[in-house]
Amino acid sequence: MSTEWNVYLDNNATTPTDPRVVEKMIPYFHEISANPSSIHGAGRRARDAVEEAREIISRLVNCRTEEVYFTSGGTEADNLAIKGTALSQNERKKIITSEIEHHAVLTTCEHMAKFGYEIVKTPVDQHGIVDLDFLSKSVDENTLLVSIMHANNEVGTIEPMGEITRVAHRHGAIVHTDAVQTTGKIPIDIDALGIDMLSLSGHKFYGPKGIGALVVRRGIRFEPLHHGGHHEKNKRAGTENVPGIVGLGKACDIALAEMASEEERIKAMRERLWAGIDHNVEDVRLNGHPQKRLANTLNVSVRYIEGESMLLNLDMHGIFASSGSACTSGSLEASHVLLAMGLPHELAHGSLRFSLGRFNKDEEIDHVIKVFPEIVRKLRAISPLYKDKSGRH
């Protein structure tokens, strides 16, 4: 089967870098390529570019410029937040997170258990919203950190960060949020929400891969993860990735200008996609919160068939989607997010994520709506569950 189509609906895994971002980066590879730590004129030009980007980022999340620390991406930012705060103190020994975090937070928390930390995972309801009562009962004077994601990468559910920080701060716990999926997509006011630390990643909102940031409010203590030179005020050693930083700045710049209109456009496409699937395929369900959800994310469970086999068929039609998070696509486990939301294993295995983005067009959605029901039909025809459960066919 060959196809002319190239429908990229995996924008929560990574986004294509915006050509305007690439254009802005280009001069920083060769012409303005010095080390920002160098005191000569070439170094100072690179330094200026880095500081300009830092300023733009601070505007996107409403923090102070000096609160932005560059990292190599979201995973490093998450690791730095969790390990960094833990290493900087020795009093509080509990870390609270949620059951639906990205592995960058979950695995890191589990790692901290080896160092004597008690890890508590807050459950979520059927829409993926964390249980605030549970959280409230779990936070205590021994709680160092509450790390709960701003929005979930698999289903798009947006968590009530303002309420989470209120609960956590009552006992003096630090609040970290993995905002990798929200940065550049929805407005973030770290100040109003009371967030202490925030992770973001360039490649999730049309910036380059290999660059991200941890925002740390003034007064929050943390130790570096990378030791070495005096970069980033001694908090993150390593020669600055200047083109990456400049690109991240540009991505923020574009987001500031276009976020609102894009959200509307993308949401309309997503709603059309869901309607197209829902009307043409029986026994499908939408995962994630019906309203409090990222505008670009559509996670559906298709009963009686399995996710990867749908993905591969979509792939043959030039449609690129995913079944949960990209990191676990090689594994056999059902999505921990969907299971935490109460889906039975079988349904969790039969789930697909379509994540739309800046470069998607209406006719691409039409193509999916046309192709998808046929794929489902074909796979259900060979499924032993379909026959068993429905008696049809």
Partner: protein, 146 residues
């Protein structure tokens, strides 16, 4: 994770899909919890004097599962067709994986249950004809997956 061309061929065009009415044996392996489940239906060309020498005359399957699972079921069905029950009982997972030009490592164990499901169908047949003794010698499904 990447599938071989053979896997993709069997996945996209699975052979022997379906069911057999009044099958001589039916065998199921896997579990939707793991994300893979397959059911085989077999028709037997019997040998009353020596049931081990009976042959699989026809075979069909249905699969809930990933690309590997579907390809494994399809390939295993092709390999089993026309074979004697003795031959079936000595087939292994690796035989199927090899015929498919390999499977990604993560898929080797969970999804590669085609042979076992066919063996379950054979066991079912042997039991039906009252030869539980012979059925007992065939491996079938790995315990925890059934």
């Amino acid at each position: 994770m990447q599938y071989s061309e053979k896997v993709m061929d069997h996945f996209m065009n699975p052979r022997n899909v379906g069911e057999i009415e009044n099958a001589d044996g039916i065998g199921t392996c896997g579990n939707p919890v793991c994300g893979d489940l397959m059911t085989f239906y077999i028709k037997i060309e019997p040998r009353t004097e020596d049931p081990d020498e009976a042959r699989i005359a026809d075979i069909r399957f249905k699969t809930f599962g990933c690309g590997a699972a579907i390809a494994v079921a399809s390939m295993a069905s092709e390999m089993a067709k026309g074979r004697t029950l003795t031959e079936i009982s000595s087939m292994s997972r690796d035989d199927v994986a090899n015929m498919l030009d390999g499977l990604p490592p993560v898929k080797m164990h969970c999804s590669n249950i085609g042979v076992q499901a066919i063996q379950e169908a054979v066991k079912d047949y042997l039991k039906k004809i009252g030869r539980d003794d012979l059925a007992g010698r065939i491996k079938g499904c790995p315990k925890k997956e059934n």
